[in-house]
C-alpha cells in the first residue's frame, strides 16, 4: 500500500504533470495602447492646464479586458524623457494636466494603458499642446445674459431713485432702532453693536456697517455710548470710519471715542466669551446683533436677553435665524437686513438696488411659474412642451 502511495506521489511530481504552457503564463501580456491622443488647451480657464484626450485601448472592456488604468506622461521635447503626470481609471478618455508651468509653450504627451498587474502598454502616439488663459468662460453665457438683464434693472431704478423718491415698505425691526437707542439713553446704559464673525468681504457685514452708521448717528444725537467688539481687524477699521462719519454728520465729532470700537479676538468662541463678558459687565440697554453669526448666535442672544437689553438681530445665515427669532425682540431675516440698510440710508443707489432686486425676483417668479406649467405639460408627454421644458432646464443647467 505504501509503495503504491509513493508511486502515485512520484507520478504527481513528474515534470510531465506540470502545465505545458508555464512559459506562456509568466510572459508579460501588454494591453493595447490608447489611440488618437490629442493634447489641447483646457477651455475656459486661467491657463496652466492642458487637456489630454484619447480613444480607449482595444483591451479596455473588450479584447483582453485587462486595462485597469491610463497613465499620462509629459515631456518638454518630442524626443525627450516623458515624466509621469497623472492617472485616470479604465473607460476614461481624458485627463486635465494642471501642472503646466508656462502658458503658450508646447508640451508633448503620451498615454499608456495599464493592467491590474501594473503592466503598461506601449506608448500611444505623441501629441503636443499649449496652455492659454481665456478672458471669457464660454460656458457661462447664461450668467452674462441674466446678469445684464438684472444690471439693467438696477441701473434703471438707480436713475429713477435719483430723480424721485422710491417706495420701500416698512420693515418691522427698523422702527425699533430709535426706540432701542432711546431706551438705552433713558436707562443711562450704552448700546452694544455686535457685527458677528463675518469679514469685510461678506455682504451681510457690509449691510451691518450701514445699519451701524444709522445706529451711531442716533447714539451721537442722544449722547449715548456705542460699544463694538470686533472679530476682524478690517471690519474694526471700517466700523471706526463709519461711526466717526456718523458722529460728524450728527454734529458731535468730539463725542466719538475710537476706543469703544475695538478688536477682541479672531477665535469664534473666544469672541463669544468676550462679548458675553461685555454684556454682563456693561449691561447695555440695547444690543444689535447684525452680520454673520454661526454657533455663537444663541449664546450671545441668550446672554443679551438675560441682561434685559432690547435686542435687534439680523443675519443672512439661515441656520442661525431661528435662534435670533426665538431670543431677540426683532429680527431682520436675510434680505430684510439688506433692505433695512437701504431703507435707513435712503441712498438712491441702495434704494435703486433694492427695487432692482425686486424686479429681478419678479422675473424669477415668472420663470418658475412658466417652467412649472411647461414641466407639468411636458410630464404629460406633449412633445412641444417637453422640448421647451428641457431647453429651459438646460439653459439653467448650462449657466
Amino acid at each position: 500500500m505504501n509503495i503504491l502511495l509513493v508511486f502515485l506521489f512520484l507520478i504527481q511530481q513528474t515534470p510531465d504533470s506540470l502545465p505545458v504552457d508555464t512559459a506562456q503564463v509568466t510572459e508579460i501580456v501588454r494591453p493595447a495602447p490608447p489611440t488618437n491622443v490629442i493634447a489641447k488647451d483646457t477651455p475656459n480657464d486661467a491657463g496652466g492646464s492642458i487637456s489630454v484626450e484619447w480613444d480607449i485601448s482595444a483591451d479596455d472592456g473588450k479584447g483582453l479586458k485587462n486595462v485597469n488604468l491610463y497613465n499620462v506622461y509629459k515631456s518638454k521635447t518630442e524626443e525627450g524623457k516623458f515624466d509621469y503626470v497623472g492617472t485616470v481609471g479604465a473607460a476614461r478618455t481624458s485627463y486635465d494636466d494642471q501642472s503646466v508651468e508656462k502658458d503658450n509653450k508646447g508640451y508633448y504627451y503620451i498615454v499608456k494603458a495599464q493592467t491590474k498587474e501594473g503592466v503598461e502598454s506601449e506608448p500611444s502616439n505623441i501629441s503636443s499642446g499649449k496652455s492659454q488663459a481665456q478672458w471669457f468662460h464660454h460656458g457661462r453665457w447664461a450668467y452674462l445674459i441674466l446678469g445684464v438683464i438684472f444690471t439693467l434693472f438696477f441701473v434703471l431704478y438707480i436713475r429713477m431713485a435719483k430723480g424721485k423718491k422710491l417706495f420701500i415698505r416698512k420693515i418691522a425691526g427698523l422702527d425699533a432702532v430709535e426706540d432701542a437707542v432711546g431706551r438705552s439713553t433713558e436707562m443711562g446704559r450704552p448700546v452694544l453693536f455686535v457685527p458677528g464673525i463675518g469679514l469685510l468681504s461678506d455682504i451681510a457685514t457690509i449691510a451691518a456697517l450701514t445699519i451701524l452708521g444709522k445706529v451711531a448717528k442716533k447714539t451721537a444725537e442722544y449722547e449715548t455710548r456705542v460699544i463694538m467688539p470686533n472679530y476682524d481687524p478690517l471690519v474694526m477699521s471700517a466700523a471706526q470710519e463709519v461711526v466717526k462719519q456718523s458722529y460728524t454728520e450728527a454734529g458731535r465729532p468730539d463725542s466719538f471715542n475710537e476706543k469703544d470700537i475695538f478688536y477682541l479676538t479672531q477665535d469664534q468662541f473666544g469672541y463669544a466669551a468676550g462679548v458675553d463678558g461685555i454684556m454682563l459687565r456693561e449691561k447695555p440697554g440695547a444690543i444689535f446683533l447684525q452680520g454673520i453669526f454661526y454657533a455663537e448666535a444663541l449664546i450671545l442672544a441668550e446672554t443679551g436677553h438675560s441682561v434685559g437689553a432690547i435686542q435687534i438681530a439680523g443675519t443672512d445665515r439661515v441656520t442661525q435665524l431661528p435662534f435670533f427669532i426665538s431670543a431677540c425682540d426683532y429680527t431682520l431675516i436675510g434680505e430684510e437686513m439688506f433692505a433695512a440698510s437701504s431703507y435707513l440710508s435712503r441712498d438712491p443707489i441702495m434704494m435703486g438696488s433694492i427695487k432692482g432686486e425686486d424686479a429681478s425676483k419678479l422675473v424669477l417668479i415668472i420663470v418658475i411659474m412658466v417652467g412649472t406649467v411647461l414641466g407639468i405639460l411636458g410630464g404629460l408627454h406633449l412633445g412641444l412642451f417637453e422640448n421647451w421644458f428641457s431647453n429651459l432646464i438646460n439653459w439653467f443647467a448650462r449657466g
Partner: protein, 238 residues
C-alpha cells in the same frame, strides 16, 4: 432671591455629585486634563452668574486666541507669502531671469497690506481706505459669478424639476410665496399680503426644522464635553 437660592442649591448638589464621582472614579493623572477640566467648569459657572472663575477663563481664552491668531497670521501671511518669496525662495526669479510681474505680485499686495498700519497715524489714517476698498471691491466682484450659480441658476433649476405630486406643489408654492415675502416694493396688503403671509409660514416651518436640527448638533457638543469631564477627567465612565 428665590432664584438665587435655587441656583446655589443646584451648584452645591453639582459639587457634591462631582466629589462623589471623584471618590468613586479614577481621576486622570494628567495635569493638562486637569487644567482643561477646571477651565471647562469655569466657563460653565457662567450659567450661575458672572463670577471670578468665568472672568479668569474668559480673559485667558481671549488672550490665548489672540496670541494664537497673531502667530498664525505671522507665519501664514507674512513669512509664507512675503518674507519667504522675497528673500528665501525668490519666486520672482524664473530660469535665472528677474520677472517683474511676479515681483510686483508680491510687492503690491504687501504695500497694500502695510497701508493698514496707517490707521495708527492721524495724518495718514485715511490711507487705510485704499486696502479696504480693494478688499470690498475685489470680493464683491469675485462673488458675482458664484452667487449667480449657487443662488439663481442651481436653485431655479432644482425648483423646476416638477412632477405631478404633492411635494412638487408644496415646493413651488413655498418658493414663490417666500419670494413674494421678500418683495419690498409694495406694501404687504390684499392679495400680496396674503401670499406673503403664506410665505412667512413656509419660512417659519423651515426655521423650526432648522432649529431642531441645530439643537441636536449642540447637544452632541454638550455630550462631548460631558464625556471629557466624566471619562477623561474623572474616569467615572469607562
Amino acid at each position: 432671591m428665590k432664584e438665587r437660592k435655587g441656583l446655589i442649591f443646584g451648584s452645591v448638589i453639582l459639587i457634591v455629585v462631582f466629589i462623589i464621582m471623584f471618590i468613586k472614579g479614577e481621576p486622570s493623572k494628567n495635569i493638562m486634563v486637569w487644567i482643561a477640566a477646571i477651565l471647562t467648569l469655569s466657563i460653565y459657572s457662567f450659567l450661575y452668574k458672572d463670577n471670578v472663575f468665568y472672568k479668569f477663563a474668559e480673559h485667558l481664552f481671549v488672550g490665548v486666541s489672540v496670541g494664537y491668531s497673531v502667530s498664525v497670521v505671522w507665519q501664514n501671511a507674512f513669512i509664507r507669502r512675503v518674507f519667504d518669496p522675497l528673500f528665501i525662495t525668490r519666486t520672482y526669479i524664473v530660469d535665472g531671469k528677474f520677472s517683474l510681474y511676479l515681483f510686483l505680485a508680491i510687492v503690491i499686495p504687501t504695500l497694500l497690506g502695510m497701508l493698514m498700519v496707517s490707521i495708527f497715524t492721524k495724518k495718514h489714517g485715511w490711507l487705510i481706505r485704499i486696502p479696504i476698498a480693494f478688499v470690498v471691491g475685489s470680493y464683491a466682484g469675485m462673488g458675482i459669478a458664484p452667487s449667480f450659480q449657487a443662488y439663481i441658476f442651481e436653485q431655479t433649476q432644482s425648483t423646476l424639476y416638477v412632477t405631478l405630486s404633492i411635494s412638487s406643489f408644496i415646493m413651488i408654492v413655498g418658493v414663490i410665496t417666500t419670494l413674494v415675502y421678500f418683495f419690498f416694493s409694495k406694501e404687504h396688503k390684499g392679495f400680496l399680503g396674503k401670499t406673503a403671509g403664506v410665505g412667512i409660514w413656509f419660512i417659519m416651518v423651515a426655521f423650526g426644522a432648522s432649529f431642531g436640527y441645530t439643537v441636536m448638533a449642540r447637544i452632541s457638543l454638550l455630550i462631548g464635553r460631558m464625556n471629557f469631564l466624566l471619562h477623561d477627567w474623572l474616569g467615572v465612565i469607562k
